[in-house]
């Protein structure tokens, strides 16, 4: 950022002051505004007479290659005179931009100013609406200064060319950011899952049916439990409780709870299993199996 610091005594007002008429006033005559393209002949471009009392109705267009020229004769009251200040002021009320171009003024009051797009600050180039071009004439002393709109200036840009912009670093709020989370893992439709669960579950009845077809039975159950009831009961119970240990490990237990339980159940299964299998062997030796 680049600030021009000025020195001047100033006073601050709490309310706006209203302008009224004064003794003599600054103004201008013989004013013309001309727009000339580069390479075109003299007096070939647009040329309009300016009036001090009311602005031109149509906006004046300034293209990239054009030169805008404003000539006028400044006068105090009705006599031509050189003022202290003679500016062409470009002002945009919407954005609050303003810039002044001083006229080159001769002693006779004859003044001219030339302007191309290169002279304009780049903030002006991106304006879409025409800016207000005002003539400002003022001087020391009591004569009333002149500040009125002369014409509207529209800055025409080649639509193919990018408008230069400037983004000064400014402290302010930044755009919000919301983290985009990864999608949660998804499962297939429950109906498909249930169909496959049904297929898997159908394996057990299929196995049972196949065994029945082959004549599988549990006819020796009573014989076995009669000859050695305890080992058989304990062995079967230990096998079921082994699965129970696994179930608990799957749901709530950790490894350190599981291992001692599995060791205890395993030892019981080993001892009772050897007795129960001894009974099975005795049945085989008796040619019952």
């Amino acid at each position: 950022m680049h600030l021009w610091q000025a020195t001047v005594p100033f006073c601050l007002l709490a309310s706006a002051a209203l302008p009224a008429a004064a003794a003599s006033a600054w103004g201008f005559t013989d004013a013309t505004v001309a727009v000339q393209s580069k390479g075109a002949g003299v007096n070939s471009g647009l040329k309009e007479e300016l009036s001090a009392s009311k602005p031109l109705s149509k906006p004046i267009s300034l293209a990239t290659v054009d030169t805008l020229r404003v000539t006028l004769t400044t006068q105090e009251g009705s006599s031509p005179k050189r003022p202290h200040q003679a500016f062409l002021l470009l002002k945009d009320d919407q954005t609050g931009l303003d810039i002044s171009y001083p006229f080159t003024v001769k002693e006779s009051g004859k003044s001219r100013v030339e302007l191309t797009q290169k002279n304009l600050p780049i903030q002006f180039l991106s304006l879409s609406d025409p800016v207000d071009a005002r003539v400002v004439i003022g001087s020391l002393g009591t004569s009333e200064a002149y500040d009125k709109s002369a014409f509207k200036l529209s800055i025409a840009r080649n639509p193919d060319e990018a408008v230069p912009t400037i983004e000064p670093a400014r402290y302010g709020k930044l755009p919000e950011i919301h983290h985009i989370f990864r999608d949660d893992p998804s499962s297939p439709a429950v109906i498909i899952t249930l169909a496959f669960v049904g297929l898997v579950g159908a394996a057990l009845p299929l196995l049972a049916g196949l065994w029945l077809f082959l004549g599988t039975n549990v006819n020796h159950l009573s014989t076995a439990f009669k000859s050695s009831p305890l080992p058989h009961a304990v062995f079967l119970a230990s096998l079921v409780s082994f699965e129970g240990v696994f179930f608990l490990y799957y749901t709530t237990w950790n490894l350190f709870q599981t291992l001692p339980a599995a060791a205890a159940v395993g030892a019981v299964a080993f001892v009772s299993g050897s007795r129960a299998l001894g009974e099975v062997q005795s049945r085989r030796l008796a040619s019952l199996r």
């Binding site: 001047v8 005594p9 100033f10 050189r82 002044s100 302010g172 983290h179 082959l214 699965e243």
Partner: protein, 441 residues
């Protein structure tokens, strides 16, 4: 012991008297001590606000901004010298060092004499440019005082400045990132050298609102530096003068109020932010405060307490309309940037809070509040936390995932089949078909 108590009381009294948030020792650098009476209302104003004023001439041998490497004064007010420079103890380097050490400076310039080269080289360091013609003053033929400057038009009448941008708090109205214009010249104003009769077109360097009459700089350490284009604006005669714009009515000036706002801001009586308690925790009841570690996808609450200093006390800080106090949750770059909303107010502060879900990315994150705005001291807070991944027992259990049911069913059907096989193997009698095969053998 009694002596100790007396000392303590003195300290307390000093603390009560110092109304600025950063100390009350104010050095006024003024070349001509006879000019002191020109600004008597300003001095009375400052003294009534609790400042200890020390007047020194830049030529004085005693004048030193530092003693043993520490600041001797908290604030510095420099009135324009007529001499070429500000003397050996106020070189641009000394003044910048003063700023570096959190000292605040109000520099007034004057159109009456040429600005000294020491001052313009100081201002260039801060990217504030004076006209190359060092005796240039600004005039405006539309907004001048017809009573005191009917001929020369060099007493400008200005409206009180509004806010700089819609989202910036207005400190100076009735109510570069570091550099901000407080008061701009009217659009029809321009600068010229009063020694020349009529300025030629080439001599006019800056016009209209490109000219700043009062500019402010707040350094990164929040030390403040204000350049006032007109020392005369602080004089008694303009504090309660009546002026008349061309064709306007007679009105009285409000320079006194503006001078108060300007000195109050420069010497850190206004626009000073203080961060109180900062808290972050899980959004569950009775959660641990400010934990070192969070998990991914935790619902988290962050709260920050902010107060603003207003002349003599801390008041709850309110974010201007259109602006936001923002929280960033960052690891290298922000994952979240959220607006902090006021949650509750205490007597001296506002608590701002936001609730969000930590991102699904583990690493070292930080809660950051980086609030830098024109005319307000900077808030820069950074609180580091670890965001860990799910622990092995924190994932969804397999039975809760419908896609896993097929595998679970398979597992249990194998277990059931195994148990059935064991029973069949242990207790099955040979079937008749099997006996028939045996017999043939």
């Amino acid at each position: 012991m009694r002596w100790c108590l007396a000392l303590l009381l003195c300290c307390l009294l000093a603390a009560v008297n110092a109304l600025s948030s950063s100390g009350s020792r104010l050095l006024v650098v003024q070349e001509d001590s006879t000019e002191k009476s020109l600004y008597s209302k300003l001095w009375a104003d400052l003294e009534s606000r609790g400042y200890d004023l020390t007047f020194e001439s830049p030529k004085s041998d005693k004048l030193a901004l530092f003693e043993h490497g520490e600041r001797v004064y908290d604030h510095l007010l420099i009135l324009p010298p007529k001499a070429k420079g500000l003397g050996p103890s106020l070189t641009p380097k000394h003044i910048l060092d003063f700023l570096q050490k959190d000292g605040n400076i109000l520099l007034a310039l004057s159109g009456k004499s040429a600005t000294s080269s020491a001052i313009s080289s100081l201002l260039i360091e801060l990217d504030i440019h004076l006209s190359t013609d060092r005796s240039a003053v600004a005039v405006d033929h539309f907004n001048y005082d017809t009573i005191s400057a009917a001929e020369k038009h060099d007493v400008l009448l200005l409206q009180r400045p509004g806010s700089l941008r819609p989202d910036v708090k207005a400190f100076f109205d009735a109510t570069p990132p570091l550099l901000a214009p407080i008061l701009r010249a009217p659009v029809t104003a321009y600068g010229y050298n009063p020694k020349e009769e009529i300025p030629s077109a080439e001599d006019i360097q800056a016009t209209g609102s490109q000219l700043s009459l009062v500019s402010a700089l707040q350094a990164r350490n929040s030390a403040r530096f204000t350049v006032l284009g007109s020392a005369e604006a602080l004089e008694d005669q303009w504090f309660s003068a009546s002026v008349k714009a061309p064709g306007g009515k007679k009105t009285s000036t409000v320079n006194q109020e503006f001078a108060k706002q300007l000195t109050a801001w420069t010497f850190k009586e206004t626009g000073v932010l203080k961060v109180g308690k900062i808290q972050h925790h899980l959004a569950t009841e009775h959660a641990e405060r400010n934990p070192k570690i969070y998990r991914v996808k935790n619902e988290t609450v962050f709260e920050i307490e902010v107060s603003e200093y207003a002349y003599d006390k801390y008041v709850p800080f309110e974010v201007p309309a259109g602006d936001e106090l923002q929280l960033e949750f960052t690891m290298l770059s922000p994952f979240h940037r959220l607006a902090l909303q006021p949650v509750r107010r205490t007597e001296t502060s506002t608590v701002y809070g936001a609730q969000f879900v930590t991102p699904d990315q583990h690493g070292i994150f930080s809660f950051r509040v980086n609030y830098k705005r024109p005319f307000l001291t900077n808030i820069e807070e950074k609180h580091e936390v670890t965001v860990r991944h799910f622990a092995h027992d924190e994932y969804t259990r397999s039975w809760a995932i419908s896609g896993g049911w097929v595998w679970i069913a398979g597992l249990w059907s194998v277990i059931g089949g195994f148990l059935a096989f064991v029973v069949v193997w242990l207790y099955s009698a040979p079937s008749s078909a099997a006996n028939a095969i045996k017999k043939t053998q």
